[in-house]
Subunit: 256 residues, 2 copies
């Protein structure tokens, strides 16, 4: 049932019938971030992900040139089953598109990275929904570099009443394949976030209820950020809010 | 204190003063398996480890040609701080040695893989010591292949009284960076192990107390086995019983 639903969502995306966001629209299906790079840079990127597993949990790596997934959504084509892709040249966004076949070469490698959207439903069901939505920040926590890839960790912030912080930690720790437990609880300035209204992306600044605690999870946007910073010739990513909807359910990634 | 002790063990290994096994001899220090490959094969090996994270949890990947570790034992040299190395040519063991400097080239990449020895102490302290020691088996569970690397999963077996199986599962789940929870509990034949006396390595066949349950964890010997099966020109591994002793304590890898 759920499995069919993921396939149905991807079929609608492929056909153009579904153009909107996937955030909160794919039930308990694991959503993934997407990065495509030429094989020549894929080794360094793999090592970067190995060295920074909290922000960069790899769910699947395609064989070079092969756009068909085998594990998280067998048979899916990563070239047109994401609603919107961003094309980056030397670190600059040059185009958004719904089909990347013309950019996919014999040596292109696609990476799917676990998204913390995966545990949003589990948090909500545990009564730990963020009181201020989800905000995105760059920190001053340096990732461990690998080859051309280096830069600071990007995090998501949720805010919680003090009595829900422990529960949110325990609930998300189960999902260690998609960022796991928080990396920081409390004072944002300690990780270089001096102004909570200075959040990344197109989201409004968070409104935090008095006494609620900011809790930070590492985020796979980190991988996109370091790849952008490396100013490589061509990189393709999913566009913000348009995740790849896998066949997996969140429970498939818990306790693994 | 413990940290100094890991450095002291490695110093004794380097000087030749320590020639014996490290099994059960390094306290709570995380021990790691070692594989060295030429860069040309390192990409496929990394993808193999990504696709098979339970048997092949990567703790560190060196930069090509650089024998010095940066994370799990900063400053340690992987070429002479393991007690005994095995040199494999086209899948055949051709030499064992205590120093691999002559085999280490500009393009050699070293991989350290988490060992389940890491949670042995935690299991013992929880009252879950195996009643038959630790045995090693090849299963008929196929790993997900990557490039030249393919083959069955290798597992360790511990046997436990029935009332300790759940506790052993919970204790080891904490260590998801070093194999985590069991992959199989009970009937060995279901994963292709038809004769428990047919164990790998130099260990005696296990003597299992009546009513005790066989419990199986994935094992990083899997990585060595698939690399051997690929019959690559030159591969170096640690020799059985001679792990790399890291500066990390087991608790450093729990809940990560």
């Amino acid at each position: 049932m759920n499995d069919k639903s993921a396939k149905r969502i991807r079929a609608k995306i492929k056909s153009g019938e579904w153009e909107g966001t996937t955030v909160g629209r794919a039930g308990r299906h694991v959503q993934a971030g997407f990065v495509a790079l030429p094989k020549a840079l894929a080794y360094d990127f793999l090592v970067f992900c190995q060295r920074n597993p909290k922000p960069c949990p790899l769910l699947e790596v395609t064989d070079p040139g092969c756009p068909t997934l085998k594990r998280v959504a067998p048979g899916a084509d990563v070239r047109d089953e994401i609603g919107r892709y961003s094309i980056w040249r030397r670190g600059e966004l040059v185009e958004e598109t719904s089909d990347i076949k013309e950019h996919w070469g014999d040596d292109t490698v696609g990476f799917l990275l676990g998204s913390s959207l995966t545990f949003s439903t589990a948090l909500e069901e545990a009564g730990c929904a963020s009181s201020s939505g989800i905000s995105l920040y760059e920190t001053d926590i340096a990732c461990v570099p690998a080859g051309v890839f280096a830069g600071p960790m990007v995090v998501t912030m949720r805010t919680l009443p003090p009595d829900q912080v422990a529960r949110a930690t325990l609930v998300t720790n189960r999902f260690h394949a998609t960022h796991g437990a928080p990396i920081h609880v409390g004072e944002p300035a300690v990780i270089g976030i001096t102004d909570l209204s200075d959040n990344l992306g197109d989201f409004p600044p968070p409104l935090i209820p008095s006494g609620h605690v900011p809790v930070f999870w590492s985020c796979s946007v980190t991988a996109e950020a370091v790849a952008k910073a490396a100013r490589i010739d061509l990189m393709i990513t999913h566009s913000s809010g348009h995740g790849f909807v896998t066949d997996l359910l969140d429970c498939d990634l818990a306790e693994r």
